[in-house]
Each structure stands twice: as C-alpha cells, then as structure tokens.
C-alpha cells in the first residue's frame, strides 16, 4: 500500500485542493479584516487587540490541534500516505535580523505576504506594487545570501 512507487508522485486531487484551501485561507483573512491597513496600524500602535486576538487564537488552536494530530496519527503521514512535511527552521541570524526587517516592512505596507495576495484579489491595485517589491526583496536575498551571516 505504501511502497515507494505509489507514494512518489503527488495525487492529482491535491492540486485543486491547495487552490481551494488557499481560497478559504484568503477569505478568512479578508473577512477578519487582517488585510486592512486600519487593523494593522492599530495593532502596531497597540490601540486595539483584534489582530493580536486573531493571531493568538490561531496559534492556540494550531498548537492544540497539532498535539491531537501527533497523538492520534503516529505514522506522521497525510491521507495519501505521503509524510507530513514539518518544515525545519533552525536558529540562524536571519531569524531575528530578517524577522525585524520583515516587521518594519509589514508596518510600512500594512500587509504580510498572505494579505498581499488577498489585497490584489480584492481589487486593491496598490498591492501589486508591494508584491513587486517583495519579489525584488526575495531576489536581493538570493543574490546576497552567500554573504549574509547564516
């Protein structure tokens, strides 16, 4: 059932599913207004708790849900028998340097990466400029990576 051959390629139905999951994720981001400059600026000025509560509730839910998943699914595979890929992000200077730089960018644009896409979809064309900047920033990172402390 789970010999190497059957689990090597991605089942076709995962592709539309990723699109559908993204759609749900983007819809919740938009309806919860976490893509709005109003909510983001009020969060960073500590003037209203909405954003912190959304993020906090997401994290608490995620932690509890994953503890349950790990306890009940010892195989650590998804429904198709592929391993669940827990991304390893080890400590390196980028964790805090990159984190601080991203924080400043999040404030300036009022959009973290998910909301950049949701904003474009919502017809906010300014966000195309943010996306262009983000691509330039990713390119800059790829170019400088060999010289950055890591």
């Amino acid at each position: 059932m789970s010999d190497a051959k059957t689990v090597s390629s991605t089942p076709w139905w995962k592709y539309p599913l990723w699109l559908l999951l993204g759609l749900g994720f983007g819809a919740v981001l938009t309806k919860a207004q976490v893509i709005s400059v109003v909510r983001v600026r009020r969060m960073f000025a500590f003037q209203e708790p909405h954003m912190f509560l959304v993020i906090g509730a997401a994290v608490v839910t995620g932690v509890i849900a994953m503890l349950i998943v790990r306890a009940l699914r010892k195989t650590k595979t998804d429904v198709s028998g592929h391993p669940m890929e827990f991304k390893s992000r080890p400590f390196q200077p980028g964790i805090w340097i990159g984190g601080l730089i991203f924080g400043v960018g999040w404030y300036l644009t009022a959009a973290c990466p998910g909301p950049i896409y949701a904003l474009i979809g919502a017809g906010i064309w300014d966000a195309v400029v943010i996306l262009a900047g983000a691509l330039a920033g990713a390119w800059l990172f790829g170019w400088l990576k060999p010289k950055l402390p890591r």
């Binding site: 999951l21 993204g22 919860a32 909510r39 906090g56 960018g105 300036l108």
Partner: protein, 165 residues
C-alpha cells in the same frame, strides 16, 4: 480614513479557523500553510534566476503547491470583496496613490520579501505553522515581527507625526 468601518469577523471565529488550516493542510496534503516561499518560486521562474544558487531548484516540482495556495488566497480576497459582502473596512490609504506613497509601498515590499526570506518564513509559515508545531525559532521570529512593526509605528508616529487610521 472616512469610509465606514464595520466590525470584522470576530477573532474567536477567525483565529481558530486560521489555526485549523495547519492540521487540515498537513493531514490532507502533507504541507504546512506558508506564503512567503512563493516569492522565491516566482523569482526562480524569472530569466537568469538560475545564476544564483538560491533559485536552483525545480519550481514545478517543489513549489507548485505553494503557487496554487497563494493564487487561492488571491481568489479568496476576490470572493469576499465582490461576492460575500466585502471586508467591511477600508483596505488601503488614499495617500498610497501618490508617487511618494507608491515608492514607500515598494520599499516596504522589498523589506517584506527580503526579511521573510532571510527569516525563512512569515506570519503564516513561522507564526501560525511554526508555533503550532512548537518551533522555538518560529516563536523568536514572530516576536521580532511584532518588535520591528511596533518600532516602525513609534518612529512613524512620534518622529514623523504619522496618524493611526
């Protein structure tokens, strides 16, 4: 901002829904929710990208899932804004649409792209997925996101006289 602001989808509904995407995506598709990696995938598809080691990988094999996920996020914005009654809040500032405003958005975007790639994750990859899987580096990164943004807010408001919308 003078457009009417209505209440968002409450945090106690939105937050748990977002958190549930972590187990849902891992169990159904084997991947953790994450967005900023998509910037790398798009760059890796550009001409001359393969001159840089960071972009030397097979995007259609390793990144297609994430490209589909972010296209879905975009369509989620469209669905809510034009089909499900809108977000109920202004999504941008009118001053964005000036030369200085657009320049600032671009520079901010560069910081978002560079910072998330250097940190290896953003609010979804580190804060939601990483912390859900009890990753300590993700907790540190998330704290740095908030510290960086709050510091920028202090400078904007108390040095440049910026207003909170």
């Amino acid at each position: 901002v003078d457009t009417a602001i209505t209440d968002p989808l409450p945090w106690y509904i939105a937050g748990p829904l977002l958190g549930l995407f972590v187990p849902a995506m891992l169990l159904l598709t084997g991947k953790e929710p994450g967005v900023s990696g998509s910037f790398r995938h798009v760059c890796a598809l550009l001409p001359r990208a393969k001159a840089l080691d960071y972009f030397k990988y097979d995007v259609w094999k390793d990144g297609l899932w994430q490209i589909l996920f972010v296209v879905g996020i975009l369509l989620g914005g469209t669905l809510v804004q034009f089909g499900l009654g809108g977000s109920g809040v202004p999504l941008f500032l009118p001053e964005n649409l000036t030369a200085a405003g657009l320049a600032l958005l671009f520079v901010g975007g560069v910081l978002v792209g560079f910072g998330t790639r250097y940190a290896d994750g953003c609010t979804s990859g580190h804060t939601i997925s990483g912390i859900s899987n009890l990753s300590v580096p993700s907790m540190v990164a998330s704290a740095c996101f908030i510290i960086g943004g709050s510091a920028a807010s202090l400078v904007h408001r108390f040095v440049f006289g910026g207003l909170v919308p």
